[in-house]
């Protein structure tokens, strides 16, 4: 940091070294061509002042600005110790905005991302290093910004700068921000005081302000619009330019407005789902479901105890008249005992399960079985009551045989239950195509004979681990693509008013005119997609490198090593220790891929702790974030819905047939299921004698023409 070297007038590449003045036509790239000289050396050549500890990379990050512009933006003089990487990290904010937010001495709770470039110094630490004339520099900068006023575009920005460093607009912004978008990562950062997150709020506040301005400006513009019927397609609104100009590269995902049709003050999507979930939880317990279970249980108990009753009643009631039980009879006792035991185990295996779902209609097959068991038991009791109890049957062996026959019948009913409830649906008869209505994710499944409601439950089970999680943020085209469509046609009718005719005629005319107009939005879309891809890949690369590096900082303590107990950490502490170095890259990546609602800081820390405990590699840690996983992977209460609606034209207890289509609805999306019968395969046999495989060389082929 100290030790400025002597520099020459010409550097090794033969470029004239700039001195604190503008050298028109020079590019900052030559600075990066100096390949990591210390800033002292660099800046010693650019500005007449020593700025210890800086890196030349910040200049190359500005991608070909002329030196004059670079210098013009960093200095209102020399700003000691600043690293402009934070400027690029803030997505192309103007320097004035950046400086307004950082300088002014220590500003608690600030975005310290750029400070992390200084390897974790606290803000206090920074301000100590900061030169004393901060306020002076601040006033200088304010002057500079005032000069930009006549351009018109920067004027609203000035409002924030002129407010001055001491005022703290942040708490209000954070509250408003919270209400607008319940981003879990940010609410958590509030409590934990993790300062790097608040920058997110600030930039989105700026973005929201900008959107307000855009809206007000467009409103103003449309007032004068009444005389214009058609707008040329290639003519953007002035504010589009201003919004887009500054929002370059990194934080595209953060600062682009997605046209969802909701106004700023409507409740967000997450609020809606939260409200809906509260409603679901407060629904009273479904009595009908428990009724079914209770009936089944009593029936089962009754049928289990019946043979025992048959056996016990005669000795209790007319022991004297009863013939003694011979050998065969006693043998039957053993068989009754074991059959009852088998029946008990079988019933436990088959029926004693927590129900997976509550079906809208009665489960037909199960009801059928229960009725059958009921009839069986009733008819046996009837017979027993009339012919044995009343008649006081003497032969005890007959009674025992009767009881054994009942147990056999019950075992067969159990077999029937197994076949009907479990086995029949296993052989695939239909192929289902399940498509999610919002983004088209689709899967194919094979099922056997089932009723529609049971198929619905089965599909829902598959949905939670096969389909990628539903991400509403990925649904809409970016605003820049759709903006061109906003300028529409106005149709005026000349002559007499014939309202009913005109409406359809008008709309058709508008549609036809719109179709004929040359629309270049596909171009926009293509380039936006390409840009987005590139950005995602860049962020991903940074993330992977950051995580790899972070994982090299810790290792497992071997048993033989003796370490100071202060140095030994448990997994949670280890995770916290290495989290800081990858947090920023992770956050930016999640924001670019619009996954940030799914991963709270707490969840990332937990996952990191999990991976460290089980000796997973960085790649294994990252697989959760690099690809959108199935819904069941994410935090349970948030994403697992309990209430689904089955929409079907056929009665839901009908079996599946070819060509049936039904819907499984949630509030924000639905699954469309269509059925097709598995074709009947005609398999024929062809015998090939192994000796018949003979070959000749193809030397001369002869073709007749």
């Amino acid at each position: 940091m100290v030790g400025i070297q002597e520099d020459e007038e010409m550097d090794s590449l033969g470029f004239r070294v700039t001195v604190g003045g503008s050298v028109p036509g020079e590019d900052c790239r030559w600075l990066s061509a100096w390949g990591g000289l210390s800033v002292a050396q660099c800046l010693g050549r650019t500005v007449g002042g020593s700025v210890p500890g800086e890196d030349c990379r910040w200049l190359s990050a500005w991608r070909g600005l002329s030196v004059a512009q670079c210098l013009g933006r960093t200095v209102g003089g020399s700003v000691p110790g600043e690293d402009c990487r934070w400027l690029s990290a803030w997505g192309g904010l103007s320097v004035a905005q950046c400086l307004a937010r950082t300088v002014g001495g220590s500003v608690p709770g600030e975005d310290c991302r750029w400070l992390s470039a200084w390897r974790g110094l606290s803000v206090a630490g920074f301000s100590l290093r900061q030169a004393h004339p901060s306020s002076k520099i601040e006033s200088l900068r304010v002057t500079v910004d005032f000069l930009k006023v006549p351009l018109g575009l920067k004027k609203p920005v000035l409002k924030e700068v002129a407010v001055g460093p001491p005022k703290r607009p942040q708490p209000a912004a954070l509250e408003r921000y919270k209400a607008r978008r319940s981003d879990a990562m940010d609410t958590e950062s509030q409590y934990s005081g993790y300062s790097y997150k608040s920058g997110h709020s600030r930039s989105s506040r700026k973005h929201r302000d900008r959107r307000d301005r855009h809206r007000s400006k467009s409103r103003d513009g449309s007032r004068g619009d009444k005389s214009v019927t058609i707008q040329a397609p290639g003519e953007p609104l002035l504010d589009n330019e201003s919004t887009r100009g500054d929002e370059r590269d990194d934080n595209w995902g953060e600062t682009t407005t997605v046209v969802t049709g909701t106004s700023e003050h409507s409740i967000s999507h997450d609020d809606l789902t939260r409200i809906a979930k509260d409603m679901e939880d407060s629904v009273p317990l479904d009595c009908s479901r428990h009724l079914g279970v209770a009936v089944g249980a009593t029936l089962a108990l009754l049928s289990f105890l019946t043979p025992l009753a048959f056996l016990l009643l005669p000795p209790l009631l007319w022991r004297e008249e009863l013939e003694p039980c011979g050998t065969a009879c006693e043998g039957l006792f053993i068989s009754v005992a074991f059959k009852l035991l088998i029946l008990l185990l079988g019933s436990w295996a088959l029926f004693f399960r927590r129900p997976k779902a509550s079906l809208p209609r009665v489960f037909v097959l199960r009801a059928l079985l229960m009725v059958l068991v009921f009839l069986l038991v009733v008819s046996y009791w009837l017979f027993y009551g009339v012919r044995i109890l009343d008649a006081r049957e003497r032969s005890y062996q007959g009674v025992v045989q009767f009881a054994v026959s009942l147990v056999d019948a019950l075992l067969f009913v159990h077999y029937l239950a197994v076949v009907l409830l479990e086995l029949r649906q296993l052989q695939p008869q239909f192929t289902l195509k399940v498509v999610r209505s919002t983004d088209g994710a689709s899967r194919f499944y094979n099922v056997g004979h089932l009723s529609i409601q049971r198929v619905a439950v089965w599909i829902l089970e598959k949905y939670y681990h096969d389909f990628p999680v539903y991400n509403p943020a990925l649904l809409n085209l970016p605003k820049s693509v759709l903006a061109k469509k906003v300028s529409g046609f106005k149709v005026y009718s000349l002559g007499e008013e014939n309202s009913t005719n005109n409406s359809t005629g008008q709309s058709r005319a508008v549609i036809a005119a719109a179709a004929r107009r040359r629309d270049n939005s596909h171009n926009e879309y293509y380039y936006e997609e390409a840009e987005h891809e590139r950005r995602v890949r860049k962020r991903r690369a940074r993330l992977v490198v950051a995580v790899e590096e972070a994982f090299t900082h810790i290792k497992r303590l071997q048993e033989e090593e003796q370490k100071n107990p202060r140095e030994v950490m448990d997994p949670r502490e280890a995770a916290q220790a290495i989290f800081a170095s990858m947090a920023r890259a992770m956050q930016k990546y999640l924001r670019t891929t619009k996954q940030q609602p799914y991963h709270t800081m707490e969840s990332i820390l937990q996952h990191l702790e999990f991976c460290i405990t089980h000796d997973m590699t960085p790649k294994a840690f990252l697989e959760r974030y690099l690809a959108a996983g199935p819904t069941i992977q994410y935090h349970k209460e948030r994403w697992l819905a309990k209430q689904w609606t089955l929409v079907s034209e056929e009665p839901v207890t009908n079996g599946l047939k070819d060509g049936i289509v039904f819907l499984l609805k949630r509030q924000d999306f639905s699954l469309v299921v269509s059925t097709k019968k598995v074709p009947f395969f005609k398999l024929s046999e062809e015998f090939v004698d192994p000796k018949s495989h003979k070959f000749v060389m193809r030397l001369q082929s002869e073709t007749s023409v």
Partner: protein
């Protein structure tokens, strides 16, 4: 001898016969640059990869036109046949749009006669 006899070449004009959906010429060809030339029984030079007539069916259009077995086909309707694959040759002969094909063929007997006359 007329001029083109001296060159050993013969022009044959075959009118294709319609049989059902197909137009047939009534002979078979062999050879081609993708075939093995050493198996060609009709060629003098066993590295010759040209197209040869291997069979002429009785009473067919080719026989009527005067095509003989062992002829080497040099051209078909102006298309060269000396450097083609077997399949290309077949295609050029069996074009559905052409009812008449004019072949330029070379006959060994003719060639021998020319050589003998040149030597003598």
């Amino acid at each position: 001898m007329s001029a083109w006899w001296a060159m050993g070449q013969q022009r044959v004009e075959i009118h294709k016969l319609r049989q059902g959906e197909n137009l047939i010429l009534g002979f078979s060809i062999g050879g081609g640059i993708d075939q093995d030339p050493s198996q060609n029984p009709f060629s003098e030079d066993k590295t010759d990869k040209g197209i040869y007539v291997t069979r002429v069916s009785e009473g067919g259009p080719a026989e009527i036109a005067g095509l003989q077995i062992g002829d080497k086909i040099m051209q078909v309707n102006g298309w060269d046949m000396t450097m083609v694959t077997h399949d290309q040759a077949r295609k050029r002969l069996t074009k559905r749009s052409e009812e008449v094909v004019r072949l330029l063929v070379t006959r060994q007997s003719l060639q021998k006669a020319v050589q003998q006359s040149m030597l003598s």
